[in-house]
């Protein structure tokens, strides 16, 4: 505190400062060393949707910082039934089973329907048009094989530190995955791990 001899005060304060500085330096070092020493530090993490938790609520379309969203619909071709009456492509009571806009469920016409052989049609997603509203995902899951699902597309995703969609996701489906395996694809057999 207030010492009478100002000539003595400076070195003492200086010593204290250096001591605390050293402590802070090693404190930060220890903290960082602990955090850096953990497994998995080498991997960059990216956001992805667990398709087995996602309920396609539509928040992906509205909450991404990007417009249109970085989330797009994808089709798992080994799971797809190649239905003529695809309930992901057509609304419940379609006007006609054609590719006309009035008979499509997708608001942007992002699903491409292509005849493979009677009566099988292949459905692919035009990602430029898809807005990840999830209408087709719900349709496919309701009456079909649930082969359509939503995924974060990493050519678009900004990989925000805190994903805006993850905050708004009601099903806790947004997870961080290693950048070397950035997709959580749906397969024919559901992974055994329970939700």
């Amino acid at each position: 505190m207030n010492c009478d001899h100002s000539s003595q005060r400076i070195p003492r304060r200086e010593l204290l400062r250096e001591g605390v500085q050293l402590a802070a330096f090693f404190g930060v070092g220890g903290l960082v060393g602990f955090v850096a020493g953990k497994k998995g530090t080498a991997e960059q993490l990216v956001w992805q949707i667990d398709p087995y938790k996602c309920i396609a609520c539509g928040n992906c379309a509205t909450h991404c910082v990007l417009d249109p969203s970085a989330v797009k619909c994808v089709n798992s071709f080994p799971m797809c039934g190649y239905c003529d009456l695809c309930t992901g492509y057509f609304p419940p009571e379609p006007v006609a089973l054609t590719t006309g806009a009035e008979s499509q469920l997708c608001p942007t016409g992002a699903i491409i329907r292509k005849l493979v052989e009677e009566p099988y049609y292949e459905y692919t997603i035009d990602e430029e048009l898809c807005i990840s509203c999830g209408k087709c995902v719900i349709g496919c899951a309701a009456f079909g094989n649930a082969s359509l699902y939503l995924q974060v597309r990493h050519d678009r995703c900004l990989n925000c530190h805190e994903c805006s969609i993850a905050i708004a996701c009601p099903s806790q489906a947004f997870v961080r995955v290693p950048a070397s395996q950035p997709y959580l694809l749906k397969h024919k057999t559901k992974p055994s791990a329970p939700a």
Binding site: G81, P119, N159, S171, T189
Partner: protein, 498 residues
């Protein structure tokens, strides 16, 4: 068409509906373009509807239940066809951007910190610092869109400390560490010219006014409280509030939530008159840097040589960081000052206990940010407001998982217990912050020079130019001219104890 598969389809009631639809639809499709078949089409649709109502009503009820029960689980209702000639396409998997960017960012950070240190401490050039600020704003802000930043990295480190499964990528660790280490030796050079959030406000601060001391001190408490909150929410794995409420990231991305754009815009507007409001009164990383900066041996000085107390720099700082010299206390008042300090120190445990109690009593409120806790409440109340789409969706998603309510209640109770600890911790911390602030206000270290307060000084370099000694160093004034300046113009009213 392979009959085998069709027969398989027909085996179940569900598939009977699908088959009926398929037959109808193919019938319709053949004649869809001929006008006279409009009627047939209509009949077809009536039949279709009828077939829904009669033959498939049972399966539909079951299915509608299924829609909610297992909306997305792979239910193979239509076995995928075995194509002989058609090759199944691959689901496209575009790769994430190359990790090269992260490496470049860390190199940029290190180089910018070195340059900022050189410009602030050796070259003492406001212009150079400002140019570097612009470059950092362009690179880390607009080009790299504000991610990754050390402010947000606090949360990663906090979570990694408390969650054994959470690992932090090395680039984030570097971003967290480097500015701290630089602050420990050279002061807040990161704030000066590297941080994009600081940069955008630095440019906005055109008519910055001095704030009264009481306001400066009061608002200055908030970063510490915010730091505690952010650490608690990150450590419990609930949310990254710093990132969620980053006011300028929406500008950097030129897109974002309207509320955040308004918040950022308002901060910039305030920033015209109150310099760097985010850095001074919100930024938790700035608070840590300020404390570290207090320990720095080589900190920015206003005079390159010796302070002549001419008072020319007194109002130069837009951030209220320049503190006037304080004469030593007269002997008669020392006893009183000591008593005041002892009282403040004795009050510290009271503050801390008060904070802990308050934190504990508020922990259920804090836990409301946790989805698991909210979900348990919604499930338990059984009556969710249908307008609350998030709640409805969350309950649906929970039902989909097939997990039992009991397990949800267990995990929610576990979360609440975690939050009780976190609440007490946060309360202790906030109490400590208030108590230490009280102690700080009770101390009165004497100074003989005009100094930048290392905690508040962001090393922007505005004050250099005001100093006559600096003018001499640059060769703009002669020693003789400086010698004529009035010295020791100490103003008794400008004592910084306010």
């Amino acid at each position: 068409m392979r009959l085998g598969t069709i027969q398989e389809i027909e085996q179940t009631a569900t598939h009977a509906k699908g088959h009926a639809l398929r037959v109808i639809s193919m019938e319709n499709r053949e004649d869809i373009r001929s006008p006279q078949n409009k009627e047939r089409q209509a009949v077809g649709f009536v039949w279709l509807t009828w077939s829904f109502v009669t033959s498939a009503i049972g399966p539909i009820v079951v299915m509608l239940a299924l829609v909610h029960a297992c909306a997305v689980f792979a239910v193979e209702r239509f076995p995928p066809p075995d194509f002989t000639s058609h090759q199944l396409p691959e689901t496209p998997q575009p790769a994430p951007p190359s990790p090269l960017w992260e490496t470049l960012d860390t190199i940029f950070l290190f180089a910018a910190l070195l340059l900022a240190t050189y410009f602030a401490l050796a070259k003492r050039s406001r212009n150079a610092i400002f140019i570097l600020t612009g470059i950092s704003l362009f690179w880390l802000g607009f080009h790299r869109q504000g991610c990754v930043c050390p402010i947000g990295a606090i949360q990663d480190v906090a979570q990694a400390l408390c969650d054994p499964t959470h690992a932090v990528p090395w680039s984030i660790i570097v971003f967290f560490t480097l500015p701290l280490v630089f602050a420990l030796f050279f002061g807040r050079v990161f704030c000066a010219a590297v941080c994009p959030l600081g940069a955008i406000q630095e440019i906005a601060a055109i008519r910055a006014q001095k704030l009264p001391g009481w306001l400066e001190h009061t608002l200055g408490l908030f970063p510490w409280i915010y730091l505690g909150l952010a650490v608690v929410y990150a450590a419990t794995g609930t949310a990254y509030v710093i990132c969620e409420y980053d006011p300028f990231v929406a500008f950097f991305r030129r897109t974002g939530a309207t509320s955040m754009l308004i918040f950022g815009g308002a901060l910039l507007a305030i920033g015209i008159f109150v310099g760097r409001p985010y850095c001074r009164f919100i930024c938790p990383y700035g608070a840590i840097l300020g404390l570290f900066s207090k320990l720095a041996r080589w900190h920015v000085r206003i005079p390159p040589t010796e302070c002549i107390r001419c008072r020319l720099c007194e109002d130069a700082c837009p951030y209220g960081a320049i503190v006037a010299p304080v004469p030593p206390l007269p002997r008669s008042e020392r006893a009183r000052a000591r008593r005041r300090l002892l009282f403040a120190m004795a009050l510290l445990p009271v503050w801390v206990m008060l904070g802990a109690g308050l934190g504990y009593s508020l922990h259920p409120v804090m836990a409301q940010l946790d989805l698991q806790v909210r979900l348990a409440r919604w499930i338990h109340s059984a009556s969710i407001d249908p307008n609350n789409k998030f709640a409805v969706d969350a309950v649906t998603a929970f039902r989909n998982t097939g997990a039992t309510e009991a397990s949800l209640y267990d995990s929610a109770a576990e979360r609440l217990r975690t939050f009780a600890i976190a609440g007490v911790g946060l309360g202790l911390w906030v109490g400590l912050v208030f108590g230490l602030k009280w102690i700080q206000l009770a101390t009165r270290p004497s100074r003989q020079e005009y100094l930048p307060d290392p905690r508040r000084c962001v090393a922007c370099g505005r004050c250099f130019w005001y100093c006559p000694e600096e003018q001499v160093r640059r060769g703009w004034m002669s020693e003789a001219e400086v010698a004529q300046l009035p010295r020791d113009r100490m103003n008794p009213s400008s004592s910084p104890s306010a």
